[in-house]
C-alpha cells in the first residue's frame, strides 16, 4: 500500500502529470551508471573499518552470514502556502544496522553509536535476538548465491545536488509557483513543498561485498484549492509533478511557475464540472494515473514474500498465489501486456547500483505476453522458486529487491520499478482517446484503496474528461472506478507506444512491521480498459 501516515497533510499523496515523457532511458542511464568506479569516490576508510568490525563480531559470535549497513539519511523540506513560508526542515540521521544469520535464524540490531564499541554492541544485540528466536531445522533461512562485489560504487545520475541549493532559491521558486496558481479565478489557497532525499549508504557482508552508494530523490508536492464564494463547494488540483530519483534540475525542468496557472484553472474548472452518471465506461488512463493502478494491482501482488504469506498480518497476501498454480499459467492480461521489474531506469525511484542484500539488481519480466512469468525476489525468497527457475533453465538468483528505508530498520523485499512496457504501435494519449467512442479519460492519481489480496480496488484521479466520438467533450467530477484485478487487466485492449511512456512514482509505499516506506516508480503508456464500473462519489448523506 501507499501509506498516508508519513507525510504532512498538505502533500498527502504523490505526484503526476504534465512532464515531458522520459524515454525508457537505458542508453544515457547506462553511460552514467557504469562510469568507471574510479570516477566515483570509494568508501570512507573509517566507515569500512566499522563495517568490518561488525562483520568480525558477527562471525566470532557464530553467525553463518552477516551484513552491516552504515548510512546517513538526509531530508530537506521547504513548506510554503500562498505567499509565505510555513517551515524549513533539515533532517539528518546516521547509524549502523547489523543483520546476522545464526543457526538459520535472523537477528537485527541497530544503533546510532558509530564507534567500534557501538557497532559491536549492535552486533551482539542482533546475535542475542537470533539466539532467543532459534528456528527448527526445517524453517531455517537459506540464501540464494550471489557474486560478491568487493568495491561497488554508485551515485544517482544528477546534474545538481539539491542539498547544495540555497533555501532562498527553493523558496523563491515555490512562492512564484503559488502566485501563478492564485491568478486562476476561484483559487484561494495553494500549498507547495520541496522535498529532497539523500541516502548515503555503505554496505558490507560476509560474502565479501562492500558497496558505497548515494541515492538522490526530488519531489515538488503541490495543491491548489478553489473555493466557491458561498462555501458551497471546494475542489483541489494536486499531484502535478511526479517524484523522481533525480537532482534539483528535475524540478526546475518541470517548469512549475510556467504550469501553475493551468493547475489552478483546472482546480477552478472542477467546481463547474458535471457530476458523473454512474455506469460502465471505457476508461482511457494516462500514465500519470495508471502508474498507481499498476502499483496496487500488479506490483504488490507479485511480491514473492506477500504471495507466500510473509506479510499476512499487515500488508496482506496475494491472489497471485500459490506460485505453483500461477507461474507460467496465470493469464494476467492480454498478450501485449508486458510488465517489467527493474532497478535501472534513469529517474526511477527504486533505481540503485546494489540492493540492501548486496545484490546487483537485474531487469526481469514479471508478466510476459500476458502470462505471469516471475515474482519480485530477495536472496532469502528466491530459493523458494528454485523449481520454477530449474524448469526455465535459469539460475536461482535474487532479482535484487531488498531495501531498508534507514539504518535502523531491517531490510526486506520491497518492489523495484514495475512498469507496463509500450506496445508495438507508436500511439500517444490523443490517439487512444481518438479511437474511443464513449468513455472517460483520467489524468493524475487521486484516492486509492485495494483489498489485502489485491482483488478489489477503487481509484479516483485528478482530472476526468468525458469522451464522445473520439473527442474530449468536457470535464466530469466525482468519478471513481471499481475493479476486480484479473478482469480489469484482461479488459485492456489498446495501449500507447514508446513516445507516450512516462514514469509515475511514490515516495511513500508502505509495507512491513514496523512500517517502512519505499520510494518506487512505475512507467507506463496510456491504456484503454473496456466497460469498467464507474461510481459517483459526491454523496450528501
Amino acid at each position: 500500500m501507499t501509506t498516508r501516515r508519513d507525510f504532512l497533510k498538505t502533500g498527502a499523496a504523490t505526484g503526476a502529470l504534465v512532464l515531458a515523457a522520459p524515454a525508457l532511458g537505458r542508453a544515457d542511464g547506462l553511460a552514467q551508471r557504469f562510469a568507471p568506479a574510479s570516477e566515483l569516490p570509494p568508501m570512507d576508510p573509517s566507515t569500512k573499518a566499522l563495517l568490518t568490525d561488525a562483520l568480525n563480531a558477527a562471525t566470532m559470535g557464530g553467525a553463518s552470514f552477516a551484513d552491516a549497513r552504515i548510512g546517513r539519511y538526509r531530508n530537506n523540506f521547504v513548506f510554503t502556502r500562498e505567499q509565505q513560508i510555513v517551515d524549513v526542515v533539515d533532517t539528518d540521521t546516521m547509524g549502523v544496522g547489523v543483520r546476522v544469520l545464526l543457526n538459520g535464524t535472523w537477528g537485527f540490531g541497530a544503533s546510532r553509536d558509530l564507534t567500534t564499541a557501538g557497532v559491536v554492541a549492535a552486533t551482539k544485540e542482533a546475535l542475542a535476538i537470533a539466539k532467543a528466536n532459534v528456528l527448527p531445522a526445517a524453517d531455517r533461512v537459506r540464501l540464494a548465491p550471489t557474486t560478491p562485489t568487493p568495491d561497488g560504487r554508485y551515485v544517482t545520475p544528477h546534474t545538481t545536488d539539491p542539498f547544495a541549493i540555497s533555501i532562498e532559491q527553493k523558496a523563491d521558486l515555490l512562492i512564484r509557483t503559488n502566485a501563478e496558481a492564485m491568478k486562476a479565478n476561484g483559487v484561494k489557497f495553494v500549498n507547495s513543498v520541496m522535498y529532497f532525499v539523500k541516502e548515503e549508504k555503505n554496505y558490507a557482508n560476509t560474502d565479501g561485498t562492500f558497496t558505497t552508494q548515494t541515492i538522490i530523490r526530488s519531489w515538488l508536492p503541490f495543491t491548489a484549492t478553489a473555493v466557491t464564494s458561498d462555501f458551497s463547494d471546494f475542489q483541489t488540483r494536486s499531484n502535478v509533478i511526479q517524484p523522481a530519483a533525480r537532482g534539483y534540475e528535475y524540478l526546475t525542468d518541470a517548469k512549475p511557475v510556467e504550469h501553475a496557472r493551468q493547475w489552478g484553472e483546472e482546480a477552478a474548472e472542477k467546481l463547474k464540472a458535471k457530476p458523473v452518471d454512474v455506469g460502465r465506461y471505457d476508461l482511457v488512463l494516462h500514465p500519470s494515473h495508471l502508474w498507481l493502478t499498476i502499483h496496487e494491482s500488479v506490483a504488490h501482488p507479485t511480491e514473492l514474500d506477500r504471495a507466500l504469506g510473509y506479510e499476512a498480518n499487515y500488508a496482506g497476501t496475494s491472489f497471485v498465489s500459490p506460485p505453483r498454480d500461477t507461474l507460467g499459467k496465470l493469464k494476467y492480461g492480454p498478450s501485449f501486456m508486458n510488465i517489467q521489474g527493474d532497478r535501472e531506469q534513469e529517474g526511477g525511484c527504486s533505481t540503485t547500483g546494489w540492493d540492501d542484500d548486496g545484490v546487483k539488481p537485474e531487469t526481469f519480466l514479471i508478466i510476459k505476453n500476458g502470462i505471469l512469468n516471475d515474482y519480485q525476489t530477495t536472496r532469502e525468497h528466491a530459493p523458494m522458486l528454485d523449481w520454477w527457475y530449474d524448469s526455465q533453465h535459469r539460475p536461482v538468483r535474487s532479482h535484487g529487491c531488498s531495501y531498508s528505508d534507514s539504518w535502523s530498520d531491517v531490510q526486506f523485499l520491497r518492489m523495484p520499478n514495475v512498469s507496463l512496457l509500450p506496445g508495438d504501435k507508436d500511439l500517444g494519449w490523443g490517439d487512444v482517446i481518438g479511437a474511443t467512442d464513449r468513455g472517460i479519460a483520467i489524468m493524475g492519481d487521486g484516492s486509492f484503496s485495494i483489498d489485502q489480496q489485491r482483488y478489489n480496488a477503487q481509484f479516483g484521479g485528478q482530472l476526468f474528461y468525458e469522451i464522445k466520438g473520439g473527442k474530449i467533450a468536457g470535464m466530469l467530477k466525482d468519478v471513481a472506478y471499481q475493479i476486480r484485478t484479473p478482469e480489469f487487466w484482461n479488459a485492456m485492449d489498446l495501449i500507447g507506444g514508446k513516445k507516450s511512456y512516462e514514469l509515475g512514482a511514490s515516495f511513500f509505499d508502505g509495507k512491513g512491521q514496523p512500517g517502512q516506506v519505499n520510494a518506487v516508480s512505475h512507467g507506463s503508456v496510456p491504456a484503454r480498459f473496456r466497460n469498467i464500473n464507474v461510481i459517483n462519489t459526491g454523496r450528501k448523506s
Binding site: M1, D87, Q482
Partner: protein, 462 residues
Amino acid sequence: MSAPKSLFGKGSEISSNEVMARAEAQAFLERVVKLSKADSISASLDGGYTGNIRFAANRISTAGGVATSELIVKSGYGPKHAIVTTGDFSDAGIERAVRQSEAIAKLAPDDPDSMPLLPPQKYADVTAHFDSTANLTAAERAAAAHTALDAAKTAGDLTAAGFIVAANTYNALATKTGLFAYHSATSVNYQLTVRTNDGTGSGWAGADHPDWKQIDFEAVSDTAVEKARASRKPVAVEPGRYTVILEPQATGDLVQLLAYELDARTADEGRSAFSKQGGGTKIGDKIVDSRVTLFSDPADPQLLGQPWNDEGLPLGREVWIENGVLKQLEYTRFWAQKKNARANGGGLRSVKLAGGDATTAQMISSTPRGILVTRLWYLRQVDPRTVLYTGLTRDGTFLIENGKVTKAVKNLRFNESPLFLLNNAELIGRSERVAGNESGGNTVFPALKVKDFDFTSLSDAV
C-alpha cells in the same frame, strides 16, 4: 510528574544508554539552548529503545532491537525560522545542528504566522512508563510470539502471522524562555492474523497497552483462531445499505479519521466538512447523533498520552463533539490569536469516543439482518467535503439473521463517512483501547451498531 522508578531497559545490549531520564534530558537540552545566538530556540529530544518480533507462515521471520535518539533544533529570527535534526550528540554535533538551524533560518523568507515561544508551563501528571515493558528481553518477546505460533501449529489447519513491538521512549523540550517539558512512555502493540490452511478463512485480533503485563497473549490467540475458523467459506451477499455492527477496532478505523478534519483554519477558509454554507463554521451545530461524544485527554487512563504538544502547550481534556454537537475545532496558536479563540491543537493523536452500555451480544440479538465487522482496511479519503472514505472489511465479516450470527460473508468495499456513520448510530458499546490503527496513536473506541452503512462492491479477498 513523579519520576518512574527505572527508565533504563535491562533487556538488551543497546537499550541502556538511549533513554535519558528527566534530569539528564533537562541538562542536555539546557546545554543546547545556551549555544543559541538566535532570537529564539527550542530544542527537543525524541528517542528510546524498540524491540520487535515478527512471525509469519508459522515461523519467526525477523526480529530486531533498535536504540536511537534525535535532537530537533528550531531557531528563529523574528518571523524567520528553521528546523534541523541530528543524531550526533557530541559537542561538535550539537553545535553544528544549532549553527545550521540558525544559518538556514536567516536565509528563510518570513513566516508571518510564526508565534513567540511559550513561557514555562504546568503539565498534567501522566504515568505512561511501565518497567514491565522497559525491561523486556528478546526471550520474553519470543515466548509471547510462541503463544500464537504453537496454537496454530498444534491445530494443524491454521497459519499464524503476527507482530509484537515493545518500546521504551522519551520526549523532552526546552526553550530559550525557560520552558521545559518531559514525558517518558512505554508501549506494547500486538497484532495477530490467523489464516486457515484451506485459504478461505482469516481472523484478526490485537492488543495495545503501555504495560506489557496487561497484554493477554492467549486471549488474542483465542480470538484470532476463533474468527479464522468462523470465517471459512464465506458466501456472497448483495452490496447495498446494511445495518452493521462494528467491533471497536472497526469503529476506530473509520472514526479516528475525523481527527484529521477538525482543523479550525481550513473550516474558516471554506475548505472543510466543517465549513458552513454561506460562511463560517459548524461549531455549535448538531452534526451527529446526540449520544456521541468525542474527546482527547492525555490523562484519561485508557489513553495515557503525552500531556504537551511540540511547542510545549499543555494538553488537557478537549471535547470536540459533545452530545452530537460540534463544540470546537482545533486551533493552532496563530489561528487562535487571529480568531480570538483558545489554542488547543496537537492532542488529537490520543482520541476517545465515549462509550455506551450496549453489549455486542445485544447488538446482534436486536438485528433482524445485518453484518458484523471485525475491522476495516486500506481506508482512503474520497471526498473531503463530506469526509467520505473508501475501504474494505477484513479478517472476520459475518452475516446476522434474525438476531444470530449465521455465516461468514465475503469482504465488502464501503464508501462511507464517519459523520454519516455517527448520525446513523443505533447502539453504542463500551469503549476500549484498539490496536490495529493504520494511522497510529492511542485510540479508544466502542462497538457501534449503525443503520444504512453503504457497501458498494464485493471482494474475493480472504
